[in-house]
């Protein structure tokens, strides 16, 4: 099983890279063949990814989110799955290169950060804790999707403002659709994160009653939660429009990545994967 896990950590980034290139060919070069090939490569990659996560679960007998590598890989898988469903429902492949590119980024990170076996922690066997982790990861994935739509929104917005009719013009969904998808993903992410943070509070008060205020990951998560909440509130109050919301969604993704990598690797604390 260990050799399969090792092979998968190498194969998964390669498969996602192939899918990203195919989606890129479909978007930039408008190659119909690449457009047909890309979803099949992605499906194959996700199938292998599902087997990889199942093998991790079987190997360590706990939710495969016990290390930075495992959590990032789980996020990558969830993001890929979400995109595949969106593509299947909407028949819209124009955003594939960006979203699958992000899947590749997360899986590459996961493969590079593969380390020693994660500690066997009792917490990871608790169903409620699994729910906390699932909600947190769902929130992150939704925020990542929002960031991708936010990025595309900003590109198209700027092109339309400046009268630049380049690569993005005419190939992406309309601005209104990108904005709606972004806000929808932000709202879903915020709700999931609210649930994740609330469940996390239950554990933290029970297990680490004195330390939680000093944990950088908790503080970052709360800051993110506040940032997204504020963005949605200002939007609701008609103070912010698509552009500002898109900027926040991009800044949010940057913070998530920083939180996943920097905070987990550089800071020591009770919470996370150290």
């Amino acid at each position: 099983m260990d050799s399969f896990l090792l092979a998968a950590t190498v194969l998964l980034p390669l498969l996602y890279l192939t899918a990203t290139i195919a989606y890129g060919q479909s978007f930039f070069a408008e190659s119909p063949r690449a457009g047909m090939l890309a979803p099949w490569v992605l499906r194959g990659a996700l199938l292998l990814h599902a087997a990889y996560l199942a093998a991790l679960w079987a190997r360590y007998q706990q939710l495969p989110a016990a290390s930075v590598s495992q959590a990032t890989s789980l996020m990558s898988f969830a993001l890929g799955l979400v995109y595949l469903v969106v593509e299947w429902r909407t028949r819209e492949r124009s955003t594939g290169v960006w979203l699958v590119g992000l899947v590749l980024f997360f899986q590459l990170l996961a493969s590079l950060l593969v380390g020693p076996p994660p500690p066997d922690r009792a917490l990871f066997h608790e169903p409620l804790f699994a729910l906390h982790v699932s909600f947190a990861l769902l929130g992150y994935v939704a925020f990542a999707v929002a960031a991708v739509y936010g990025f595309l929104f900003l590109r198209l917005y700027r092109d339309l403002k400046a009268g630049r009719f380049g690569t993005f013009f005419g190939r992406l969904p309309p601005l209104a659709v990108l904005e709606r998808m972004m806000v929808w993903a932000l709202t879903l992410g915020f709700l999931a994160m609210t649930a994740g943070v609330t469940l996390g509070m239950v554990f933290v008060r029970r297990i680490y009653p004195d330390q939680w205020l000093t944990d950088p990951k908790i503080l970052t998560s709360i800051a993110l939660w506040l940032l997204y909440g504020l963005a949605l509130l200002l939007r609701h109050l008609h103070q912010w429009q698509g552009r500002q919301t898109a900027v926040v969604s991009l800044a949010g993704l940057g913070t998530i990545i920083a939180s996943l990598v920097t905070v987990n690797l550089l800071f020591t604390g009770f919470h996370g994967f150290r």
Binding site: G163, F169, G170, L172, P174, L175, Q241, R243
Partner: protein
Amino acid sequence: MASAEPDLLLVGLDHRSAPVELREQVSLAEEQAADALVHLLAREEIHEALVVSTCNRTEVYVDPRAPGAEEVVVDQVFRARAPEAAEPGRLFVRNGPEAARHLLRVASGLESMVLGEPEILGQVRQAGALAERVGAAGPVLGKLSRAALAAGKRARAETAIGEGAVSLGYATLELTRNIFDRLEGRRAFLLGAGEIARSAAKALTERAGLQITVTNRGEERLKEFLADFPQARPVPFEARGSGTAEADVVIAATGAGEAILTATDLRSAMRRRPDRPLLVVDLGVPRNVEPGARRVENLFLHDLDSLDGLIQKNLRRRREEVPKVEEIVAGELERFLRWWRGLEAEPLVARLQKQAEAIRQRELAAVLERFPAELHEEVEHLTRSLVRKILHHPSTRLRAQDEERTLPQLELVRELFQLGDEEE
């Protein structure tokens, strides 16, 4: 014997060879085209005829029966309407496969004034239907017009020759589509009721179902606009601020010498609808909208230069598609020519015999086992002999008729026995 290539003839003029005044004179409305076809068919030089007449071209395709068909077409269709059409350099003439290729290129949009424009395909379809209705299109021109439609459809389906707006009205629509989804029922506010405003209104209403509100300083032109667009709602010129605030798309196309929408006006309008983006298209010269409005959040201001940039980009893209369309035209022309060659008697007889032999073998295979083994050879011989004898007389007659090149009869045989093209 039938010739190796079709004896087609094309005589015509188009936007490259004739000015609009001349094109207008020789242009044929449907009834006139039907009349011209009937008169052409009455001549012994002409066997079949097809007329394609649009604002940019009048072209007559004929399958000639005897020499002199070109003069007949020039006299009856062109010189009779405008003597100067027969002056050197005005009319172009193509013969044989080149005439066929030209119709395929026309249907594909390669010969259009605006490369890849979509209307021509419908016009070629109407021309073919008219020729068939009056009995002017027989097997050859009927097949040719179907080949042209196939080429035109493939060109639009398989290449980007017809993609992207290449007029101001459609460029406005393309911008609208990149900002909003579900265009049906969205509001467009037109400042101005002249020709440019009309072309934009036409694209927005016909292609996207937008609701039109219109204002104009002059009453007369506004009335003319409303006669053409009765569903449009007129508002006083002074109410242009509220008209702008309610709209999703604003099109300014007046002859005003100064800005009729300032950045302040637009900022104030946007405050009244903060959640919705606004597309403002300034088609006026001098410009009708203060350029500083570009900085207003969620507002997209485009002027003539900007739209021209979009049109030029789309035209460049269409030009890049020309080689692919040429390939499609060549492919469909080759199919047509193969069909034509298949009308020669000898290949037709060969296919008829091949088909009969295939039927014989299939039927025999189903029943042969019921006969004793010693009779198999005899049954084989009997069935083969039957088929040969049944086909002997039709084959001999077909070969004999080849001397007179009677295409309709040969085509009838093809249809009766469902012989199809070689590749089918």
